[in-house]
Amino acid sequence: MPNSDLQSAKAPESDPLSGWSVVVREGLSSRGKAATPAEERRLGKTLDRLHPAANVALAGATALSGQVASPSFPSVLAQLSDA
């Protein structure tokens, strides 16, 4: 599912988690894994909880992608040790 669909996904107000059920089922079936309805609902809640943070990271990563090659995370840690 493209990022824009994820970011703009809004579930019906009657069930805020129903918007994630497609993502959950696609993710599981693409890997040949089945889950019970209760597990699917729990996974949907997980995605719903993580979604705002994912959006922050997606926006940050998009901003970085326009720059010249970013330093590796180990390099960043080394730089910050002398900050």
């Binding site: 599912m1 996974l43 995605l47 960043v76």
Partner: protein, 437 residues
């Protein structure tokens, strides 16, 4: 010598002053390990005595979480009892300690595949907290915490992906150091989420931790301790803390009038969630085959299953954005200050029955609460130290957590040593809490 000193440094002094020899010291430690652990259940397997070797750690008995390769043995990682593996070399972290004379006496119990905030593991007997048999032992480095707290070994290597060194340290009145990501090699360590995994240390005193750290770390990366007065910032959350914990941390921060106290850490929730995205995804990759075959125990599947449905773009973005978040965090909190003090556990150490999933008294909120202040540190990759500062109304430790910039572990340990001497004396933190239950 009839009684072993409380700290590693104490035993080194006893050996250098010839009150005991390395061989006698190891013999005493092995006897104590075998007899006392019969009721504590921290040991998965005692390793053969290969003799004592010269070096600054000669005569010092250590034992490590059963997640590290040891010479000729692959770890069980909490999933089984491990197995002989001819020719297998010890993980570099273990080998470095042995190269300077340390004796690796045993491998220690843990939550299965490091997936758990307690040591609960149906494959092994429950570890008993030596401070109070009714109290929980945090995980997943549970055996390490028990063995060190009970004085059976002088230190233990653990691993920390979302608190698995810091949580057990907090429940057992130990110094628990989660190191900067990459400071100690992860080679020969069974992975959970490699982007978040860090090798850590559990000891009874801050000087002991510093001594071991200087041996196991890639020392070219460690920054020397700051010579100036450390500048402290403290995050005292306005809500979510038990009153005893809040009161203890408030008293602690008042010891330094110059400590800046903040009530909110705005990035906390976002960084915690980003850590979860990375952890679930990488745990799923680590255990993919067993996950797809429905061959994982419930505790491991609870961590890994979500990794199958988290969109790959989320995971890649979480990793790509990590450096920016680390830079912003230092800018906001660790530029004008050297250390950030924050809670370790939000509540007093719980009873084991409240956090054991198969117990009638199981309370899922109490179990989840153990992770409250942990995962975001792994996402940032920063070092963090847990140590006790006070006793609660039941005599159990209340601990703080202290963060520093990458590779500034020496500042963390210097700060802890000041607290240790001021509040608990020369025998380290843990001795103070034994026999309180």
């Amino acid at each position: 010598m009839h009684e072993l000193p409380a700290t590693l440094r104490g035993l080194q002094l006893a050996i250098s002053s010839r009150r005991t020899s390395p061989g006698e010291a190891i013999s005493l430690q092995r006897q104590k390990l075998k007899s006392v652990d019969a009721r504590l259940h921290s040991v998965v397997q005692q390793l053969p005595d290969t003799g004592t070797y010269p070096g600054p750690l000669a005569g010092i008995g250590l034992a490590h979480k059963d997640i590290f390769n040891t010479a000729g043995r692959r770890p069980g990682a909490g999933h089984d009892a491990g197995a002989a593996s001819e020719g297998l070399l010890a993980a570099p972290a273990v080998a470095r300690l042995e190269a300077v004379g340390a004796s690796t006496m045993a491998v220690l119990a843990m939550a299965e595949y490091a997936c758990g905030a307690t040591g609960d593991n149906p494959l092994f007997k429950r570890c008993i907290n030596p401070l109070n048999e009714h109290a929980a032992v945090g995980g997943s480095s549970s055996g390490s915490a028990v063995a060190v707290a009970a004085g059976l070994v002088y230190g233990s290597l653990g691993t920390d992906t979302a608190g698995s060194v810091r949580i057990p340290a907090a429940t057992c009145a130990l110094v628990g150091l989660k190191t900067t990501h990459g400071l100690i090699p992860l080679d020969g360590v069974y992975p959970l989420a490699p982007s978040l995994d860090s090798v850590g240390l559990l000891t009874r005193s801050a000087p002991d931790a510093m001594h071991l750290l200087q041996i196991v770390a890639d020392t070219g990366m460690l920054r020397p301790a700051t010579s100036a007065q450390l500048r402290i910032k403290a995050w005292l959350p306005a809500s979510g803390l038990h009153e005893e914990v809040a009161s203890a941390i408030q008293d602690f921060t008042r010891e330094s009038a110059s400590t800046q106290i903040i009530a909110t850490l705005p990035q906390h929730q976002t960084l915690t969630r980003l850590a979860e995205i990375v952890m679930h995804t990488e745990a799923a990759a680590t255990h993919r085959a067993a996950l797809l075959a429905c061959a994982l125990s419930p505790s491991v599947e609870a961590v890994a299953l979500a990794g199958l449905v988290i969109p790959p773009d989320w995971y890649h973005a979480a990793l790509a954005d990590r450096g920016r978040h680390a830079q912003m965090f230092v800018q906001e909190h660790l530029q004008a200050h050297d250390l950030l003090v924050l809670p370790a556990l939000p509540h007093p150490v719980p009873d084991w029955s409240a956090v054991a999933t198969d117990s009638p008294g199981f309370d899922v909120k109490q179990l989840l609460a153990l992770h409250s202040y942990m995962g975001f540190v792994n996402y940032l990759g920063f070092p963090s130290l847990v140590f006790p500062i006070a006793r609660d109304s039941r005599g159990m430790p209340i601990s703080v957590q202290v963060l520093a910039r990458p590779f500034h572990e020496a500042d963390l340990l210097a700060f802890a040593e000041q607290v240790e001497l001021r509040r608990f004396g020369v025998n380290g933190f843990t001795e103070h809490f034994l026999n309180q239950g």
